[in-house]
């Protein structure tokens, strides 16, 4: 820790649950980082993790945790880099215990692994709690609840850092808070210093999606070209005591850091730029400056903040049964007409023969699928695919749909091929608010 320089150096080693591992190892080895953050939790992933835990109480954490920790623990310890992650998902304790076993297996004696709990509020939220951004209450949803997680802020992470944790593992740690906490710890920022809370949250917000600021989710050939995207590097933030930062990446990696990549991420998933709510602050990004500062270097400054919200957001996950998806392809002359006929047949069979009146979506990929409801004009094509998606509490409904789509091979339009179908568990999530006094984060240290 405590590298001899005046800025603090944070890298992102994952920006979502399935993010790449090899560029994280590159950062761990060459990044000279103070902290490596792995952000691996979303509204979907936490709900699915609860289902995993219900099926097996030893699971419910990120399915890539073991591979990530086996690769990253030793180089991070050697470099004096702390790891902070929400890979614990629905089961931080099991994730911490698994990490402890991996550390022991690697001979990393004395490695300190902090487990943060208290985000599971399923016993504190009554069913008559109103929804956050829609009418009704939780009781209006006729599905079993699988889990409820409150977003924990920097103050839940700080005790682990103060206790000298090398690895911090939590569940629903808020994305920007995993970056803000080590900054507040290093620079001694007070929670009442709302402008610095806002500045540190901006750093976290920019960094939390990993490569989305270094050229990922950005390239548009001929308009926004990005070099060597298959070798894209994860981002690094060099943060100063005043909260301003330079966003960059390792030399020799692919991708690009430009004012354009930074601006797209600045407002990613943001509604009112002057009012971005986190557990730590009401952040104000409306007067942020974004300035080029050299090759793959962009300086960000000017974030501010006001008093933090009195309530915390809670993601409530429901068991929504099953989702089935299936498809058949048509190519060559008349492919579009044959695909449309196939769509019509499946719709009629599900409705008239199987009397299914639940949620189903039937699209012809190549004609119109993602934008189907937008009614945008589409080009003619000779390569289309029928795509059917259906959700039901009954697995049999999903099986029936797959059966119907497969039956098109012999019973449908000419030349249909390439049937594939899959049924996966479905979850649904809603958001509610809870008074922050009712959420009690806790920390426990495991030592290898």
């Amino acid at each position: 820790m405590a590298k001899s320089r005046d800025h603090f150096r944070i890298g992102t080693g994952a920006g979502f649950s399935a993010d790449r591992l090899d560029p994280a190892l590159d950062l761990a080895k060459r990044g000279e980082l103070d902290v490596l953050v792995m952000e691996c939790l979303g509204e979907r992933t936490v709900a699915f993790a609860h289902r995993d835990r219900m099926a097996n109480p030893a699971l419910g954490y990120n399915s890539h945790l073991e591979r990530r920790m086996k690769v990253l623990l030793a180089p991070c310890r050697e470099a004096g880099t702390r790891i902070i992650t929400n890979m614990g998902a629905a089961n931080p304790r099991a994730a911490a215990e698994r990490t402890l076993a991996i550390a022991r297996g690697l001979g990393l004696q004395g490695l300190r692994i902090a487990c943060i709990e208290g985000d599971d509020v399923s016993r504190n939220v009554p069913r008559d709690t109103p929804m956050m951004d829609e009418p009704g209450t939780l009781a209006d949803i006729d599905m079993p609840i699988v889990g409820m997680n409150a977003y924990l802020g920097a103050e839940a992470i700080l005790p682990a850092l103060e206790a000298g944790a090398d690895v911090v593992i939590g569940g629903r740690l808020a994305d920007p808070s995993m970056f803000l906490a080590p900054l507040a710890h290093r620079f001694g920022w007070s929670a009442e210093d709302t402008d610095r809370m806002g500045a540190g949250s901006l750093v976290g917000h920019l960094m939390e999606c990993g490569m989305q600021i270094t050229g990922g989710y950005f390239a548009d050939p001929g308009f926004k070209d990005v070099p060597d995207l298959s070798q894209c590097g994860y981002p690094i933030a060099e943060v100063a005591d005043d909260g301003s930062a330079v966003i960059t990446k390792l030399p020799g990696t692919g991708g690009r850091v430009s004012t354009a990549t930074v601006k797209e991420q600045l407002l990613y998933e943001v509604h009112d730029p002057a009012r971005y709510l986190t557990p730590d602050v009401t952040a104000d990004f409306s007067r942020v400056r974004v300035d080029a500062a050299g090759d793959d270097r962009v300086r960000v400054s000017g974030a501010a903040g006001r008093t933090r919200p009195t309530q915390l957001k809670v993601t409530v996950g429901f068991d929504a049964g099953f989702q089935g998806e299936a498809g058949v392809s048509y190519a060559g002359p008349g492919a579009l007409e044959r695909g449309r006929l196939a769509a019509q047949i499946v719709g009629e069979r599900l409705r008239n023969v199987h009397r299914f009146n639940g949620p189903v979506r039937i699209n012809v990929i190549g004609e119109s699928s993602l934008f189907a409801n937008a009614e945008t004009p589409v080009a003619d094509t000779q390569d289309v695919r029928l795509h059917v998606a259906l959700r039901s509490r009954s697995k049999e409904d999903a099986e029936t749909m797959l059966w119907e789509v497969e039956s098109l091979l012999c019973c449908g339009p000419a030349g249909g091929g390439g049937f594939r179908g899959a049924i996966v568990p479905a979850v649904m999530t809603k958001s509610v608010l809870i008074d922050r006094q009712r959420v009690k984060p806790s920390m426990e240290m495991f030592v290898a």
Partner: protein, 120 residues
């Protein structure tokens, strides 16, 4: 950086880039001009009213627009625009990641028209 298409009406993609994100059943799309000189044209071309009018079956709720004058960008918040959200939508793209290109595909307003004359 951009390569205007020949023999075609210019679209938003010719002057701006965009990114879409989701929270629950709400989509947000931020749009930035490559050249600050095009910012007024972008503001006239992409209005909350136009998005609501053009995509009524995608955007079921209200549309809010935030203007970042200093960075030459717009941020749109599209309410009830994700068929229930990532865990409910049966759209292949249940996050609405492609909504950025729905907007980038809109034709630009006539650059010579008076302000307020955003096209259909």
């Amino acid at each position: 950086m951009s390569a205007p298409r020949k023999n075609a009406r210019r679209i938003v993609r010719d002057i701006a880039h965009a990114r879409a994100g989701d929270k629950g059943n709400t989509s947000s799309v931020n749009i930035w001009v490559y050249d600050p000189a095009d910012f007024e044209l972008l503001k006239r071309s992409v209005t909350a009213e136009r998005l609501k009018r053009t995509f009524p079956n995608v955007i079921r709720g209200k549309v809010e627009r935030y203007v970042l004058e200093n960075l030459h960008g717009l941020n749109f918040v599209l309410h009830d625009a994700l068929e229930g959200g990532v865990n409910s939508s049966l759209n292949l793209d249940s996050h609405g990641k492609s909504w950025s290109y729905l907007i980038l595909g809109l034709e630009l307003a006539d650059p010579l028209a008076a302000p307020g004359g955003a096209g259909r």
